[in-house]
């Protein structure tokens, strides 16, 4: 895939690749090796299984959309029908492929007929297995080609209109009403926002379905639905054309439907997606196996269509102390990086997470933040990195928060981060108001402009506070990674290695949605997106 991702990070990002921190290359490569071993083992452990949401994602890529009279989405109607009939071990594609051979219906029409009670996929005549595979692969290839064509057009638009130089400013909106989100998004774009993400309604990550249609009520955010995606996309495309600057959209491939969101975002032309391997497991108590199966397919879809993913290491610093947890952030970056590679996502599309979260009264906190941010850049020079603002210790004094955000902005520009989530003065009080976001962006503009080339001017004292801190964090990360490589990621999660949160392999939400695949299991998406590991395991011929 020609990933027109924002792989062009700050000039100092690459300039400093040789190192301002005096890192030991041996330690760095030991970290990479341990992370690869961890990711490989995850691949082995989740092999031979699929999930209800992975199968629903396949139907969505095949164009199935809509909901029945009870507002159950048609992808759920289809997959539940086969699952309850005991057939999901063969994959939804097997049953859909067979139904395509037996009638003139499209996948959408099959879903509608089934929903109307006119069709039973498990009881209709069964065609030859090879013929089924060919038919469904052909159908799937046509749909992927259609989505690829749309993304090619979008890339052309992006190039024609142009984008601002990195760091790209990533701004959230979260009104609960998609039509109000459009107003906020326009204000954010006008103030210089480059990527707009509509935060999801807080309860959505635990729903094992994606709601249907436009929504005007949500709490802490707006439901991610395909219709809402379309409304935002149309509004921002119109804004981009009018103002001659392309504005990207992002959403959240997280929760029990992380792979479905990836499919919906692909149809609607979303450029970026939050997509973390462990976030749902740690912070939404999603079963670890379910989460890791879903993330693999979700990231495979993002990777294939050139979507930039953002991982969520910043969150560990919200539940654990930022200085103590620093090695776990770096360790997780290595693991997330390897897991993303395993899904076929190239470096230029992997926005690893990092955050500015040291408690304000800590003396020299700016130096430690600078060290951590620079460390991330040097360890992953070809990844855009998504840098997050201070939130945990922001205490409601919005003027202090605004001041802390200025230092955060300084570190962002000095270390050449690829994407920056802007800080907002009212952080920690409520979901910010329209002008709070604009004030945040004005702070960013001021600091980025005032210190544009600071990264090229500044070097660090040998053995000074910054170098020493970075080296200590890296060596802590190595120790953690090697321990995890010994015990395995699932055990490490159980032992609360990340964010002080413990999760067990046989507990958590969505466990019942894991399905053991049978010998005849087939998933054309995996084959077509050419993920060798999954294709082998799916015995794709």
């Amino acid at each position: 895939m020609s990933a027109q991702a924002n792989g062009t990070h700050g000039r100092n990002g690459s300039a400093s690749a040789q190192g301002k921190l005096g890192l030991d290359p041996g330690v760095v490569s030991a970290c990479r090796q341990a992370a690869k071993q961890i990711a490989d083992e995850v691949g082995e452990q989740i092999a031979g299984r699929t999930t209800v949401s992975v199968e629903r994602s396949v139907t969505r890529l095949l164009g199935v959309d809509g909901a029945d009279a009870l507002e159950v989405p048609l992808p759920n109607v289809l997959v539940d029908h086969v699952h309850h009939g005991g057939g999901l071990g063969k994959g939804i594609s097997h049953w859909l492929g067979n139904a395509l051979l037996q009638s003139e219906r499209t996948p959408q029409q099959i879903a509608e007929a089934l929903s109307a009670g006119e069709l039973d996929l498990l009881r209709i005549e069964q065609a030859d297995e090879q013929a089924i595979r060919e038919r469904i692969t052909e159908e799937c290839a046509a749909k992927l080609a259609e989505i690829n064509r749309r993304f090619a057009e979008r890339r052309a638009t992006r190039e024609r209109l142009g984008e601002t130089a990195t760091p790209q400013r990533y701004v959230l909106t979260a009104t609960g009403d998609v039509y109000e989100d459009v107003v906020h998004a326009k204000a954010v774009a006008q103030a210089g926002g480059d990527i707009i993400a509509v935060i999801r309604s807080t309860a959505q990550s635990l729903l094992d379905y994606v709601p249907y249609g436009p929504t005007t009520e949500g709490y802490g955010g707006t439901f991610a639905t395909q219709a809402n995606f379309r409304i935002m996309r149309e509004a921002m495309d119109e804004w981009s054309e009018q103002h001659g600057r392309y504005v990207r959209l992002s959403s959240f491939c997280s929760g029990l439907c992380m792979s479905e969101i990836a499919a919906m975002g692909a149809w609607e032309g979303f450029d970026n997606m939050v997509n973390d391997a462990l976030y749902g497991i740690l912070y939404r108590d999603i079963n670890p196996v379910r989460g890791l199966i879903d993330q693999r397919i979700s990231r495979m879809i993002n990777g294939y269509f050139g979507v930039v993913i953002n991982t969520g290491e910043d969150n560990y610093l919200r539940t654990a102390d930022a200085l103590e947890a620093a090695p776990s952030v770096t360790a997780s970056q290595f693991i997330n990086h390897q897991l993303a590679h395993a899904s076929g996502v190239p470096d230029a599309q992997i926005g690893l997470g990092d955050a500015f979260e040291i408690d304000v009264p800590v003396t020299n906190s700016l130096l430690y933040e600078w060290a951590q941010a620079q460390l991330t850049r040097e360890l992953f020079p070809d990844c855009p990195v998504k840098y997050m603002p201070p939130t945990r210790h922001m205490d409601g004094n919005l003027f202090r928060t605004h001041a802390a955000d200025s230092l955060f902005n300084l570190v962002t520009i000095a270390t050449g981060q690829g994407i920056q989530t802007i800080g907002v003065p009212t952080e920690g009080i409520f979901t910010p108001h329209i002008h709070d976001r604009v004030l945040g962006l004005q702070n960013v503009d001021y600091v980025f402009n005032a210190a544009r080339d600071i990264g090229e001017e500044v070097e660090f004292k040998r053995g000074g506070i910054i170098q020493t801190h970075a080296q200590q964090v890296l060596s802590g990360a190595r120790a953690l990674l090697e321990r995890i490589a010994d015990t395995g990621l699932f055990k490490a999660i159980e032992e609360a290695s990340f964010g002080d949160v413990s999760r067990k392999i046989d507990a958590g939400r969505g466990l019942e949605g894991i399905v053991e695949t049978e010998p005849g299991y087939f998933n054309p998406v995996v084959g077509l997106m050419r993920d060798p590991a999954v294709a082998d395991e799916a015995s794709y011929a």
Binding site: T202, R318, A320, G428, F430, I434, D500
Partner: protein
């Protein structure tokens, strides 16, 4: 010549007693224009501010204008009448709390806490309950005096209450961090109603916390106490052991 503050008629202070100056900012859904500026001034007047002044205004997006304003507040309050209501609590240190609990309570204090409803933020409840605590003060988990159960975030009120009954909780703590459209009020009210419906209100201390929670709001909703931003774990611990000791004393 220094004047004394008249505590029976207190108003905002900027640099002169009784100047009444208030800083405010807001957005109006109107196009950026001189008319917009006039509208903001007129609105401030209707809010009761005299000599309103727009010090900054700008367009956010077409049809939306942001204002930063000052105005003189013409109202005052009688501070004298408000004193003595006692919402300034004297807090004990961690050691003092341990000693107090050992002296006044014959067993561990069982505390169950959660961030309830759709709120995904566990930062508040974690700061209060987890060993690590907040701002260098241990959370309740780190005290000998407490047995804690932290259920995390997105916990339905029914699950929180069931757990509290199961472990024989002395206190239920509810955290509401980021909520929208006053959902926290609804969530908090629902829990009180459920505890009352179960006939357990008398057995348990109910406390809530969060950036938009105040002691006054908490009491209005039927809680024993509310804790806002800036609360450290030993503040909460002080309240719980004192309240429980008082209840024990009154029943024996």
């Amino acid at each position: 010549m220094r004047r004394d503050v008249d505590l029976t008629a207190v108003g905002p202070y900027a640099d002169h007693l009784s100047d009444g100056l208030v800083q405010m900012s807001f957005t109006l859904p109107v196009p950026h224009s001189l008319a917009a500026r006039k509208a903001a001034l007129e609105l401030a007047g209707k809010m009761g501010f005299s000599e309103p002044e727009v010090v900054h205004y700008e367009e956010l997006t077409e049809g939306y204008t942001y204002f930063v304003m000052y105005g003189r507040c013409t109202q005052s309050v009688d501070f004298e009448a408000l004193q003595g209501e006692g919402f300034d609590i004297e807090y004990m240190s961690e050691d003092e709390i341990e000693r107090f609990a050992a002296e006044h309570l014959s067993r561990k204090v069982v505390v169950v806490g959660a961030s309830t409803g759709s709120d995904t933020h566990s930062v508040g409840i974690d700061a209060m309950l987890n060993l690590k605590g907040y701002h260098g003060h241990h959370g309740l988990e780190g005290y000998h005096a407490f047995e804690t159960h932290n259920l995390g975030s997105q916990v339905p009120n029914s699950v929180l209450l069931a757990k509290a009954i199961e472990v024989g909780a002395d206190a239920i703590l509810v955290s509401q961090t980021v909520t929208q459209q006053n959902l926290h009020v609804h969530n908090l009210t629902e829990l009180v109603e459920m505890v009352e419906a179960e006939g357990r209100r008398g057995d348990m201390i109910l406390a809530c916390g969060g950036p938009r929670v105040s002691n006054e709001l908490a009491k209005e909703l039927g809680y024993d106490a509310g804790f806002s931003k800036g609360t450290e774990p030993h503040h909460l611990a002080t309240f719980i052991v004192r309240e429980l000791a008082a209840r024990v004393a009154s029943t024996t």
